[in-house]
């Protein structure tokens, strides 16, 4: 059994699964139930001066029969009196001393930061998370993402926190920036030991087309909210990895956040540099119980890969995240369709025809029919099956790939509804590995067929 416990800036946590600061961590009762379910830590719903919330507060986006591919919210920080939260936090820490309790904080002035940090630490909180991320409501008052998007302001407040805090400080970053390295480097300059990301993405969830009001609707109006859930995971992975592979930011402890729903998501965040992961939407959707699968799945995965602890997994995939210019131009894949598994839906065909490079063909067509259908290249090798199969016989609807033309884009594999029916096979290109950057270095980074002005400029400079 792999060791799931982690060390986050010197704080031990029973596992890397923490609840993000959000409605699931609104009260002591909730957090204690979460710890009972198996969560290793919880970032309390952000503390600050009390606020007033609106109704409604959440908007969801579905895809097909799947509910809540994404969720957005316009709820503000905690709406409960500070003293109630502090009392409950203290009680949680007393009852669950080995679990990680993180206080999320959001106030404005230096004096307010001084006071709230002292009060939060008095509860026994193990870590402080400065909420510089919320992109709705609070940012209009100069807090949340308004701080996260201004590296100088972020740095200044982070320095105050470092001055006041006795426990380690985490800066929670907003994804609503052009370059995540700017706030990341500001955090480094301020001397904080950790960051968490991403907070939610600015969003409008849709429009009520009968009322002509965006969603979620508050009476006759709406406002932009913070978008989270499975749909934001790729954005979060990218932004987090930008920091992980950065020489300075990569030294910070990272708590990864964004669409994590199960152990595999968590493993991916850890492989790209996270020490802990935070979960919100999946719990809002399914409840605290999902942590059982996360613990078990990650533990079995580590065992299977021969890793003894989570720390062995951390950052494993970071070196493989490169610039485009460092990718091997000689690497070649082609799609292979398993005729025995194919169910004949021909989604790969239509996707390749209309959305890619017209290199998947339908069986039984003459050359003329193929050209009429939109193929400009007729394959040399037509599988026997394809031509001989008659309508209604097995194989009659199985498309085939023109391997000479296939650009190996993956699209057919991505649209195929049958697991393992379409695979991408490596084929030797006969070329030594070479990247675009190699070509630039060698001066062979010119592809003919472009603009005259470019060619002229190239001649002039050479």
């Amino acid at each position: 059994m792999a060791d799931l416990s982690i060390d986050f800036c010197g704080v031990r946590s029973p596992n890397p699964f923490w609840l993000a600061s959000a409605p699931p961590t609104n009260t002591g009762d909730q957090v204690m139930r979460a710890f009972d379910a198996g969560w290793g830590g919880a970032v309390w719903k952000t503390l600050g001066n009390p606020i007033v919330n609106v109704t409604s507060r959440f908007g969801g986006i579905d895809y097909g029969n799947t509910r809540l591919m994404g969720l957005n919210n316009i709820e503000l920080i905690t709406d409960r009196p500070l003293e109630v939260n502090l009392r409950e936090m203290r009680e949680v820490k007393r009852r669950y001393p080995k679990h990680t309790l993180i206080a999320s904080l959001m106030v404005e002035t230096k004096e307010e930061w001084r006071e709230i940090i002292r009060k939060a630490e008095d509860t026994g909180a193990d870590l402080l998370e400065l909420n510089f991320g919320c992109p709705h409501g609070m940012c209009e008052r100069g807090m949340g993402s308004a701080v996260g998007a201004e590296p100088k302001v972020l740095e200044e407040i982070a320095r105050w926190a470092m001055e006041f805090a006795k426990v380690p400080v985490i800066i929670k970053l907003t994804p609503n920036v052009g370059d995540i390295l700017e706030p990341g480097e500001a955090a480094v300059r301020a001397g904080v030991p950790a960051v968490s990301l991403i907070n939610t993405v600015k969003s409008l969830m849709g429009v009520d087309l009968d009322r002509m009001v965006p969603l979620p609707r508050v009476g006759n109006a709406s406002t932009n909210g913070g978008y989270c859930g499975p749909a934001v995971k790729p954005i979060a992975l990218h932004l987090m990895s930008q920091l992980s592979r950065h020489p300075a930011c990569g030294k910070l402890a990272i708590s990864g956040i964004g669409g994590i729903s199960h152990w595999r998501d968590a493993a991916e965040f850890i492989a790209l540099g996270a020490t802990s992961v935070q979960v919100c939407t999946a719990v809002m959707h399914y409840g605290y119980r999902i942590v059982e699968d996360m613990i078990e799945g990650l533990s079995d995965f580590l065992d299977e890969k021969g890793m003894k602890s989570v720390s062995e997994l951390r950052g494993r995939a970071v070196p493989a995240y490169r610039e485009w210019g460092e990718l091997d131009l000689s690497y070649k894949l082609v799609a292979k369709i398993d005729a025995d598994k194919c169910i004949g839906c021909q989604l790969c065909y239509v996707a390749c025809m209309d959305g890619s490079h017209q290199c998947i063909h339908l069986p039984g067509r003459t050359e003329e029919e193929s050209r009429r259908a939109g193929h400009t290249h007729i394959p040399k090798d037509i599988p026997h099956r394809g031509v001989t199969a008659k309508a209604g016989t097995p194989g009659a609807r199985v498309p085939f790939v023109d391997e000479q033309e296939c650009v190996g884009c993956n699209l057919c594999q991505l649209v195929c509804p049958v697991p393992e029916c379409i695979s991408m096979a490596e084929v030797p290109s006969g070329q030594p590995p070479e990247t675009w950057n190699d070509r630039v270095a060698k001066g062979t980074d010119f592809v003919p067929g472009g603009l005259e002005a470019t060619v002229a400029a190239r001649k002039r400079s050479s």
């Binding site: 097909g64 029969n65 169910i343 004949g344 839906c345 021909q346 989604l347 065909y349 239509v350 339908l362 309508a391 609807r397 509804p417 049958v418």
Partner: protein, 448 residues
């Protein structure tokens, strides 16, 4: 433009069919969307190829999924004007759903029939005027019979702006759709509502209680020659004739009924009681036999279905046999009735002989008690009406001969489609044949 008064056809209350539950009830919107979202939206989908009317099924299903229910109904009804009844009566198991890629994959196919029913029913309830007929052309078309083929043809012709006059021999219009469909699929009033919707599409007049004959003898009859003379074209949608008989001793008299006749009674007769009938034997192995056997079983009768060959040689659909068996029908294969036994005039038993190659083997007879015997061994052809039209020819099996690509008969002004041409197929085949005929009639009426 003259507006036809909306007609409404009623059936008497207290019909036996009212007690039948819908086997595939109307989806709720949420159910429909969930099922629609299962569809893979195949390219050049096999379900379209399996549909005789080539409805673009993945397209209409996608539209249901996006909330564009009206567009879904438009897609369906543009390809098959009888989209409502076909949704309920089509043997989807052997057509669209049978060819669904999920079926080949060993998974539950998309419930295409139920989705189609939802799209059409939900839309027409809100917006019956989904289509607008073209301006009047002044052309008049006579249609003989008001079953699915004629109704489909009349609807399509009316949308082209032609005036249609339908002649129906019976008092209740709709033919097979209103009188012959198993009530757990489609009830009479549902078929009549669809018929009324088609009548509302344009200039269609439906005359019931009018028989088309060679030479009219009085009121309630009209001569074929008169129809030909006073119309620009004629469509024959004659359907099939009376139930065939076996010709065995004891067959005449009460207690022995033809299958389609009995189904019609279940669907139209008020207060039909199968008094004293505990056990019934249905003779035949086709889909009509399965339908009446299934219906009787649902009415509480103990039903045996007697077929002269083996189960695997049956003409009826496997899924229909399965459904009938689930509701209690017992198949008696390789047996044939040789005599119906009566006591005091009442049927008490049937003498069944074992068969070899479908022929009774003497000396193998046994008596099986039954109070009702239903003959479902086929139907006569409606040959008389067809012959009344000069030039219209019949094949050796009594079917109206047409040119397959045009559905035109030997008479250049007469087209035909449906059961009288194909010998007895599905409603969807009638709709498809009507489409072919109307396309050719259009060319003819346009003077091409």
């Amino acid at each position: 433009m003259r507006v036809m008064e909306p007609k409404r056809f009623e059936l008497p209350p207290g019909r036996a069919e009212e007690g039948f539950q819908d086997k595939k009830p109307l989806y709720t919107p949420a159910e429909a969307v969930a099922e629609a979202n299962r569809c893979l939206y195949c390219s050049e989908a096999p379900c379209i190829q399996a549909c005789p009317t080539a409805i673009n099924i993945p397209e209409f299903i996608r539209k249901i999924g996006t909330g564009n229910t009206q567009g879904a109904a438009r897609t369906i009804l543009s390809a098959n004007i009888l989209g409502q009844s076909c949704a309920q009566v089509c043997p989807v198991e052997v057509l669209c759903a049978g060819s669904c890629v999920y079926t080949g994959w060993g998974r539950e196919p998309i419930n295409i029939g139920r989705l189609q029913r939802f799209a059409v029913e939900a839309t027409l309830a809100r917006k019956p005027n989904l289509f607008q007929a073209k301006p009047p052309t002044g052309k008049r078309i006579a249609l003989v019979g008001s079953g699915p083929a004629s109704i489909a043809a009349a609807g399509l012709l009316a949308l082209e702006g032609h005036t249609c006059i339908i002649h129906e021999r019976k008092a209740i219009p709709g033919g097979l759709n209103s009188l012959g469909i198993a009530p757990y699929k489609l009830k009479g009033p549902e078929a009549l509502r669809e018929l009324e919707w088609i009548l509302s599409l344009g200039r269609i007049e439906l005359r019931t209680g009018v028989e088309v004959v060679e030479q009219a003898q009085g009121p309630g009859q009209v001569s074929a020659s008169e129809l030909l003379a006073s119309h620009d074209a004629v469509f024959l949608g004659l359907g099939l004739g009376a139930d065939s008989r076996l010709g065995i001793p004891g067959e005449e008299g009460e207690g022995v009924q033809g299958a389609t006749h009995l189904i019609e009674r279940i669907k139209t007769e008020a207060g039909l009681k199968l008094q004293g009938v505990q056990r019934a034997l249905v003779i035949g192995g086709g889909n009509t036999a399965l339908d009446i056997a299934h219906e009787l079983a649902l009415l509480g009768v103990e039903v045996g279905m007697v077929y002269r060959r083996s189960e695997k040689e049956m003409g009826g659909y496997v899924h229909e046999l399965e459904g009938a068996r689930l509701d209690g029908v017992r198949l008696v294969e390789n047996r044939q009735p040789v005599e119906i036994l009566r006591e005091g005039g009442k049927v008490v038993a049937v003498k069944l002989a074992a068969t070899r190659d479908g022929k009774p083997v003497p000396g193998t007879e046994e008596q099986v008690p039954a109070e009702l015997v239903v003959m479902a061994i086929g139907q006569e052809r409606a040959t008389g009406v067809a012959r009344a039209f000069p030039g219209v020819e019949l094949d050796a099996r009594g079917r109206v001969k047409v040119e397959p690509a045009t559905h035109r008969t030997g008479n250049a002004k007469v087209w035909s489609g449906g059961d009288c041409v194909n010998g007895g197929k599905e409603v969807v085949n009638a709709a498809a044949e009507a489409k072919i005929a109307v396309r050719d009639m259009q060319r003819h009426l346009a003077g091409e």
